[in-house]
Symmetry: C7
Subunit: 267 residues, 7 copies
C-alpha cells in the first residue's frame, strides 16, 4: 500500500498544469487523426465501389470493418499514451496484484472470443451487410459488421447489437432461391381429387402471373388427415426475399377460387 | 495464526483514540471531496449542454458515467487509505493464504467483466440515457449508464439494475423509424377483394390525418387462411416511439369503417 | 499420515482439562462481546435515526449490515483463536495436501462472490430495507440486507434467504411513481366512440375521488381487435405501492358504469 | 509402475494374519467409540432441552448437526489409520500421478462446497429441524440438518436428501404469520356492491369463529374483470401453518352463504 | 517423435511370441482370480444374511458394492501389469505430452466425481437395494449400487444406468408411512355439508376394511371452488408402497357411494 | 517467426519428389495394413461366434469396438509418421506457442471424455449391439459401439451418431420383462363393478391367447375419477419388445368386448 | 509501455514506401497462389470422380474439405509473413502481457474444438455432402463440410453455418430405408375388424402401385382408444427420402377408400 505514499503529492499538483496541456493536445490529436482516417477510408471505398470489383454487400461489409479496426487501434494507442503520460506503469500495478491480473485475464476473454469469431465470420463470408439472417433469437437485415459487434435491424425497426461471440449458428436467408409454403385447410367432407384439381389450376395461373416464382407452385398432397378438416400443402420456389409476397398472393388466389367453386358454403 | 498474538493489543487500545480521530478526518474529507467533485462535474456538463455540441441523450450518458467513475476511484483510494491507517498489509494477509487469493481472483472476475463490457457498450454507443431498449427479459427507458450497472425504468415504473456483464445482446428501439403492424381478423365468408379495398381506404385516410406516419399504412395481403377466419395484415412506418399510438388509431378507424360497411353483422 | 502419531496422545488427555477451561472462557467471552457489540450498534443507530439524517429504509439497511459485518468478523476471530488453542496449524494441514487446498479455494469462491456482489448492491443503493423488489423468481419486501445473504419477505408470509451472488438483475418497484393498467373487454358489437366516452368519464370521476392517483387515468385506445371482443386499455400513474388499489377501484367503477349504461345485457 | 514389484509379496501374505487382527480390533474400536459418542451427545442434548435454554427446533438442529460432525470426524480418523496400517502412503501415490491429483482436487470440490454452504445455512439460522421450507423444487418439513446433506420430508411421505450445495435460495414458510388467499368467481351479471357486502359478512363471521386468524379476512376488491365471470379476492393473516385450514373454512362458508343468497342459480 | 524410431522393431517381433504367452497367462489368471473372488464374496454375504445382523436391503447394497470394488481394483491391477509387460512407461508417454496430460486430468474428473458422490450416498444410507426412489427424471426400484453407477429398474421394466455424479437430489419413497390423496370433483349445485358427510362415512368404512391404512382417511375440506365444480380432498396415511392401492380402493368406494346417494344424476 | 526463413526453400522443392514417393508408399502401406487387419479381426470374431462362448449382442459389440480401436491406433501411428517424414517436430511447434498448447489441451479434453466414458459403458455392459435404449432425447436400436461414438438407429430409420461423453444416463429397455399398460376411459354413469368384471374377463382370455404375456393382464383399479369419465387401468408383464403388441391386442379385445356389452351406446 | 517510444518513428515513415511495395507484392502473390491452388485441387477431384473410385457425396465432401484446409493454411502463412514484414515479434508482444496470452488461449479454444470435432466427423463418416441430417435444431441437406464450419441448406432455402463444435449429436436421415407412419383417426362407433380390413386392403393396393415401398404398408393395430375417436396406425418401409411421398399417397388413398365405404358420414 506504499505506492500511495511514495508519490510526491505536492509535485503532482504543480505538474498538473503541464499534464493538462499535454492531455488536451493528445485529445485534440486523437480527434483530428480519427476524423482524417475515417474520411480517407470512406473515400478509398467509394472509389473501390465505382470500379465494381466487389458486390455492394461485400464492399459495405469490408468498409464498416475497416473503419471499425481503425477506430479500435487508435483507441488502444491513445489509451496507452495517456497512461504513459501519467508515468504510471500499468503492468506493475497489475503484476503487484496477481489476483487482479487473473481477474482481468478472465474478463478480457470475452473480448478475444468476439474478435476470433468475428474474424472467421468474415473470412468464411457467413454474412454481408444487407443479408437477411437469423442469429439465436434475433432476425433482420445486417446493418454493420464489426470486429466486436454485429448490428442487425429487425423488420419492426429495432436495432440489435450482438457481440460476435454470441453468433455461433448463423442462418442466412439471402443465399439462393427460397421456398413459399401454403397450407390449405378444407372441410373433410369434400372430394379430395376435385380439391387437388382446383388448387393445382390456381397454382398454374399464379405461376404464369408472377415472374418472381422460379419453380412450381405445386400441390404436393395431403399433409394432415383430421376427422373434420384436411390440410393440403402447396409449395413453390421463388426469388430471394419474394417468398412472403408469393405466399400472400397464393393465399388470396386460392381463397377466391374456392369461394367461386363452393359458393354455398359461405352463406 | 500468530499474526493475532504479535499485535500489541494494549498499544492498540491506547492508539485507538488517535486512530479514531484520523478516521473521522478521513471520512469527513471523503464526503467533502465527493460532494465537491460531483458539483464540479455537473456544472461542467451543464455548460457543455448549453453549447449543444452533443445530443442530449449522449450528454446525459457521459455525465452519469463520469460521476460514476469519479465515485468509484474515490472509494478505491479511500479504501486503500483506511487499510493503510491500520498498518494492515492486506496483500500479506492474502499471500499468506493463497487459497483465499484464488477465491478472490475468481470472485472479482465478475466485476472486471462488468467494466470491460460497460466500456464497449459506451464506446460503440449501443445505448444512451433516454433510449428505449430491451436487454434479456427487461425492457424500458435507460435511466443511467454506469461503469458496473445500467439502470432501466420499465413502463410500469419499476427500476431495473442490470450488471453490465448481463447486457450481451442489446435491442435498441430508439434507432430510426419504427413499424406499426395491425392484424385484422375477418369472417371467412366475406369477399376478399372488397375487404382489402375498404381497409386500404381507411389506411389512406389515416395516413393523411396522422403526421407521425412516415410511410404507408398499406394492406400487404392475407397472412393466415383459416376455415372460419381470415387474417389481413396492415403495415406502416412511423416516427420513433409513435408506433403504438398509430396502431391504436388504425385499429379504431378500421373497426369504425367495418361497422359502417357491414352493419347487420353486429346485431 | 504421521501427524497422527507425532502427537503426544497421553499429554493431550492430561492437557484436556486446561484446554476445556480455556475453551469455556473463550466461548463466554465470545457471547459477552457479541451481545455487548450488538447493543452498542443498535443504540448508535437509534440515535442516528432520531436526527433524521438518513431515510428510514437506508438507516435500517445500514444497521442490519453493520450488525452482520460485526458478527462475521467476531466469528472469524473466534474461529482462528480456537484453532490456535489446539496448537493446530491449519495452513500446514492444508499445504500438506495441495489437493484439499485447491478444493477449498474453489469451494470458498462462492462466499467471495457473495461478499463482492453484496458490497456493490449496497454501494449503488440498489435496494434498501422495506423496498418491494423482484429478484430472479422471488418478489417481496426486503427485510434484511447482509454481507452474504439478503432476506425477502413475500406477501404470503414466506421468508426467502437469497445469497447475494444470486442477486444479479434487481427489479426495484419502490423507486418512483407506478403505473396502474386495466384492460376492459367489451363485446365487438358495441359502438367504439360511445364506449370510450363512458370509460373516460369513469376515469375522470375516479381521478377526482382518489388522491393516490398522480396522473390520469386515461383511456389510451383499442389494444386488441378480436372478432367477438374488443380490449380497451386504461392507464394511470399512482403513488408507489398504491397501483393495485387504484386498479381494483377502477375495475369496480367501470363495471358499475357499464352495468348502468347497458342494463339489458346482464339478464 | 514399479511400486507393484517393490513390495515383498510373500511378506505381505505372512503379515496378513497380524494385519487382520489389527484391522478387526480397529473396526471394533470404531464401532464402540461411535456408539458411545452418539449416546453421550444425545444425553447432553436431552439435558439441554430440559433447561429450555433453546427453542426445540434449534436444539434438534444442533443435535443432528453435532452427531453428524462427530460421525464424519470419526470416519476420517478411521480411514487415515487403516491406510497407515497398510504402510501405504496415499499422498505418494497421488503425487506420483499429478493427473490423478488434479482430478481428485476437482472431484472433492463439491464436498467442500457442501460444507461451506452448510456452515453458513446454520450460522444464519436459515432453517431449523421442523421448519416447513421450499428449496429448488422440493418442499416439506426439515427432518435433519447435516454437514453435507439436509433431509426434507415432503407431505406425501417421501424423504428428500439434498446436498447443501444445492440449497441456495431457501424459502422458509415457518417465519411469522402467513396469508390465506381465496379467489371467488362470480357470474358477471351479479350486482357488485351486493356481492362484496355478502362476502365481507361471511369474512367477519369466520374471523369471529376461528382464533387462528390474526387479521382480516377482508374482501380487497375485484381482481379480474371477465365478460362472463368476475373474480373477487379475499385475504387474511393467520397463524403459521394454519393458512390452508383457514382457506378451506373460508371456501366452505362463502359457498354456503352464496347458496343461501342466490338459491335459484343452483337448480 | 523419436520414441517410434528408438524401438528395436525386429526385436519386438521376435519377442512377440514370449509376450503373447505371458499375456495369455495373465488373462487366464485375471479370469480365475475374478471368478474365485466373486464366489468368496457372495458366500460370505450369504452367511452374513443368515445371521440377520443387517436388513436385507442394506445387505444387498453392501454385497453389490463389495463385488463392484473388487472388480474395479482387479481391472486396475491387470491394466497396470499389461502396460508393464510391454515395457511401456505410460507416465513418460503422458509427461512427454503435457497437453495430453491436462486433457486426461480433466477427462478423469468425472470418474472421481462419481466415486466421491457414490461414497457419500452409501455412507449416509441415502438409498438401499430395493428402495423406491426418484433421481432427476428417473424413478424406480434400486437394483444395484456401484462405485461408479447406480442401476434403477422403473416400473415399465426399463433398467436405468445412472452415473453417481448425476445423483444429487435423492427422493426416497421407502422411508416411512406414505400419504394417499384423493380429490373428488362434485357438481357445484350439491349441498356441501351433505357431501362431506357422505364422503367421511365412506372413509370410515374403508379405514375399517383396509389394514394398510395407518391414519385416516379424512375429508379435509374444499380444495377448489369453481363455478360448476367443487373439489373436495380426502387424505390418509398408509403403509409404505400401499398408497396407490389405498387411493384406488378409496376412489372405487366413493364412486359407488355417490352413485347410491344420487342415482338420478347418472341417467 | 523465423522458422519460416530458416528452411532451405530450394532444397525443399528438390526433395519434394523423394518425399512424394515416400508419402505414396506410406499411404499404400496404411491402406494394405488397414484392410488386412480388418479382415483378420472379422475372421477371428466369426470363429468366436461359432463357439457360442458369448451372446450375439455382446460379440457384435466387442467386434465393432475392436475394429474401432484398431482403426484409431493405425491412424495415430500414420499421422505421427507423416509428420516425421517432413522433419517437422510438432512438439516444438506447440511448445513455441504455449498459447496454442493450452488451447489444444482444452480442445482435446472432449475426446478424452469420450474415451473414458466409452470405456466404462463397455466395462459395465450398459449396452450391447441390438439393445433398444434411450439416451438423452434419442431412442432406438444400438447399431455400433465405438471408442468415441455410439450409433443408434431409431425406428423411423434415422441413424444417430452420439459422442460417448453425451451418454450419461442410459435407459436400457432390453434388460428383462416389460410392462404393458392400457388405460380405458369409460363414461361415469356406468356401474363400476360390472365394468371391472367385463375387463378382467377380456384380460383372462387375452392372457390365454398370447404366449408373450408372462404375468397378468389384470385390472388394477380406478386410476382417475372425473365427473364425466372414469379411467380404469390394466397392467401385464410381457416378453421384452412385445409390450407394444400386447397393448394393441388388449386395446382391440377390450374395445370389441365393450361394444358387445353396451351395443346401444355406439349408435 | 516503452515499446511505443523505442521505435524510430521517423524511420518508420521513410521505410513506409518500401514496406508498402513489399506488402502489395505479398498480397498479389497470395491471391495468385490461392486461385492457382484452388484450380489444381478442383481439377484433381474432377478427374477423381470420373474414375468413380468414391461415391459422389464422399468425393464432394473431400473436395470441399481439401479446398478449405488449403485456404486456411495459406491464410496462416500469409498472416505470419505480414507480421514478419513489420519486424514485429508477436510472441514478444504476447509474452510481455501474460494476461493477454491467457485470454487468447481461452479465446482460441473454440477454434481448436471446431477442428478436432470436424476431424472426427469426417473420419467417422458421420455426414457427407448431400446427406439429409438434423443437428441440434437445424435440419437440411449438407452443402459443404469444412474444417471449422459445416453448411446445411434447409428445405425453405435458408443456408445454416454451424461451427463444428456445435455438431455433437448428428442424426443422419440418409443411411438406409426409412419408415412411413400414418395415424388414422376413426369415430369410436365403427366396427374395429371391418375398419382394419378396409385399411389393410388400401395398404396392399398402394404397395403394389408404389415401387418406392420396400416393406408393408401394414396396419399394426389400435394406437389410442378414446371415447369418441380411435387411432389406427399404419407403417411402411420406403426408399430413403421417399417416406413423405409414401405417407401423402397413403393418406389420400385411405381417405378415398373411407369415403367410398362410409358415404353417409360426410353429408
Amino acid at each position: 500500500m506504499d505506492f500511495i505514499k511514495q508519490y510526491d503529492w505536492a509535485g503532482l499538483i504543480t505538474n498538473a498544469g503541464v499534464l493538462l496541456i499535454k492531455l488536451i493536445i493528445m485529445i485534440l490529436l486523437y480527434f483530428i487523426i480519427r476524423s482524417l482516417g475515417m474520411k480517407i477510408i470512406k473515400h478509398l471505398f467509394a472509389k473501390f465501389e465505382e470500379q465494381n470489383s466487389l458486390s455492394i454487400g461485400r464492399a459495405h461489409t469490408l468498409r464498416s470493418l475497416t473503419l471499425n479496426i481503425f477506430a479500435y487501434i487508435l483507441i488502444f494507442i491513445f489509451f496507452v499514451m495517456i497512461l504513459d503520460l501519467f508515468h504510471y506503469d500499468p503492468s506493475a500495478l497489475l503484476a503487484g496484484a496477481g489476483i487482479v491480473g487473473l481477474a482481468v485475464g478472465f474478463g478480457a476473454q470475452g473480448l478475444v472470443s468476439d474478435i476470433v469469431t468475428g474474424f472467421f465470420i468474415l473470412l468464411e463470408k457467413q454474412l454481408d451487410v444487407g443479408d437477411y439472417i437469423t442469429v439465436s433469437t434475433f432476425d433482420g437485415i445486417v446493418e454493420q459488421v464489426g470486429l466486436r459487434t454485429t448490428q442487425i435491424r429487425s423488420f419492426d425497426g429495432t436495432l440489435h447489437y450482438i457481440p460476435n461471440r454470441n453468433i455461433t449458428n448463423v442462418s442466412n436467408h439471402s443465399r439462393g432461391t427460397m421456398q413459399a409454403l401454403v397450407d390449405i385447410k378444407v372441410p373433410a367432407e369434400r372430394n379430395i381429387d376435385e380439391m387437388i384439381h382446383i388448387l393445382q389450376q390456381v397454382c398454374d395461373e399464379t405461376a404464369a402471373a408472377l415472374p418472381q416464382i422460379k419453380e412450381g407452385p405445386n400441390v404436393i398432397g395431403i399433409q394432415e388427415l383430421g376427422t373434420s378438416e384436411i390440410v393440403i400443402r402447396v409449395i413453390a420456389k421463388t426469388e430471394n426475399m419474394e417468398q412472403w409476397r408469393v405466399e400472400r398472393v397464393l393465399r388470396k388466389e386460392i381463397k377466391t377460387a374456392l369461394d367461386r367453386a363452393f359458393p354455398k358454403e359461405t352463406e
